[in-house]
Point group: C2
Chain length 355, copies 2
């Protein structure tokens, strides 16, 4: 398997994740296969429901490759969703126009939790593995492929709320009033996420990332108790599997800037940073225990090319001359961004970081 | 004026803000006069538009006193809104049902900014000062009265976006592409906010607080350049006025946990903390330079009385035996909270912190 990774033509991203020397800082962009690309919108329009795009390996492959064909990005990321697991558990996932994800059967009671199935990823989530295999084939090892999952807390929050939320009152009610129930759900999800990521690894992804979108809604002790501990379990379970010990793992908690030290101690290889964190002080706090991924304000892509360049230079400067930096936005790219500005960004990162 | 503050019967809150000994930790609750109270909903229903409530001193006074009459809270806060300034500037503020604030005339161009009037708070915002005077009269010095304003950045964000936003793309476009324009707007707002808070002080408030709801949407350097520097200007301008040097100032940046040290250096007396920050490590980082206000997760009020008590005990423990703690939620109380749970909270804070 290590040999397989060696065959990847542009391996800057993998090297940076290992804090090894690189010729320049690698970059990929969260949600790089997304609505800001006209070619994506075209496929999306034809696909009908959003989940059709995820569930049809040919389409998922097509949109995964679109940004790689257009920009000299250093990694591809599987086109999928962080809610594939609860969808496969039969909770009735729908994406409502302008409202985001919605589950017709939210998980609220002990009975709901007990009834959740244990997934076999190659079965119920076989479409994801098929997409990975197809993308790997079509990618021709140009760049590494990133697989991913939502974190147990983030997936669990959606399952309990039944949708996105501002206050997360339902999931917090469960966490605060019946923590044993919350932990039972999160434990189940930690197993599901581990199995899911291991299956993605077996199918061929070169890196995995865990998106903890909602961990930052918790207080510091609750973040550690309900989110971080389960991400750590996932990391450990995956690391027990020596066949995949060469596959780097990236953890990203949005609004997790205060907890970077704890995140770095999970055994992950890299920590994703949102844009509010100063990457220089993040580096100072964490040292070279892990690589850092981030962290341009996604809204900076609305600015002029000169401003984008200056912002890139600032982040590269703040990170300093160490190895172990993967450039990215601090959150997903927004639909209104001009693709030309993405070109400017990718070029600026490579050019300004050239050794 | 100092003597006037001396006459306040329950002055625990003022003492805590000065880091002086108190018999127990004072508590007030952000948005304590709000929809979770049936008596508030009654007045609100009769008032028609939300701004009528703010603009009718008798009604503002009535709802300000409701939580004080119901709970043994240690401070009252003026019932008003953080958008009174742009409303008085003629931007056409409306509160749309379920959508929050909306301006019919957002500020987007140099011309828009140049045309913004300089407010005389006793004129255009006279209803606020009338409310302060009436509340002070009706409060009979039972507890101190808090006045407040939005921060220049937060008010400016609403003015440029025309409403709340997820991405803040319009205001960030202005900040990144035409920073000189952004700074001109923020400079104007810093003057307006200073004048507004000075007028509230002259009308009788005992403490002022600045709510920086959207500073946390900025990167670290942008937070310092576009939000913090203008809050600092406001603090300095107010502190130049020796008549009010005894009136404590509290700054609160939501999602500002990474910047506490900088906030504490503005010259404010206290820093408000959202619930994601560990108040123990906040205290360690800041020392006793300022008092700290916070920081229970607002969703904890959905939990059972026993859980609420345990969460209160945890925060009191984390803060430790120092003086200079004002208990509060980490964000406004939510409409769905049972008022009985607020009773439990207030009682727990007083009882568990009793010296």
């Amino acid at each position: 398997m290590v040999e397989k990774q060696m065959t990847i033509k542009n391996d800057r991203f993998l090297k940076a994740l290992r804090r090894e020397p690189v010729d320049c800082t690698p970059i990929w962009i969260m949600r790089q296969a997304g609505r800001y690309l006209p070619e994506y919108r075209e496929v999306r329009a034809k696909a009908g429901k959003f989940m059709n795009l995820c569930k049809t390996p040919e389409l998922a492959c097509q949109v995964t490759l679109q940004p790689i064909d257009r920009f000299p990005l250093d990694a591809a990321i599987l086109f999928s969703d962080i809610l594939t697991i609860p969808d496969a558990m039969g909770l009735g996932l729908e994406f409502l126009e302008g409202e985001g994800p919605h589950f017709s059967k939210p998980v609220r009671t002990e009975e709901d939790i007990v009834q959740l199935p244990t997934l076999d990823p190659e079965q119920e989530l076989g479409y994801v593995m098929d997409a990975v295999r197809l993308i790997k084939k079509e990618l021709h090892d140009r760049v590494p492929l990133i697989g991913f999952s939502g974190s147990p807390w983030t997936i669990g929050s959606y399952m309990v709320e039944g949708s996105g939320s501002k206050s997360f009152s339902n999931v917090k009610k469960m966490a605060f009033n019946t923590p044993e129930l919350m932990h039972r759900l999160l434990q189940h999800l930690a197993h599901s996420v581990s199995d899911y990521l291991l299956a993605q690894m077996a199918a061929g992804v070169d890196v995995v990332m865990i998106f903890d979108t909602w961990g930052g809604m918790l207080s510091t002790p609750d973040y550690h108790a309900f989110s971080l501990v389960y991400m750590q379990q996932v990391v450990r379970k995956i690391r027990e599997n020596t066949a995949f010990s060469h596959i780097p793992m990236v953890l990203f908690t949005k609004n997790g800037g205060m907890w970077l030290e704890s995140i770095a101690l999970t055994g992950c290889d890299a920590v994703g940073l949102d844009w509010t964190i100063d990457i220089g002080s993040a580096r100072e706090r964490i040292g070279d225990k892990v690589a850092l991924q981030g962290n341009l304000d996604p809204a900076m892509l609305y600015a002029s090319p000169q401003k984008i360049e200056a912002a890139v230079a600032d982040i590269l400067n703040r990170f300093g001359s160490h190895y172990g930096h993967v450039f990215n936005l601090g959150h997903g790219i927004e639909p209104g961004i001009d693709p030309e500005h993405v070109s400017v960004l990718v070029d600026a990162v490579h050019r300004l970081s050239r050794r």
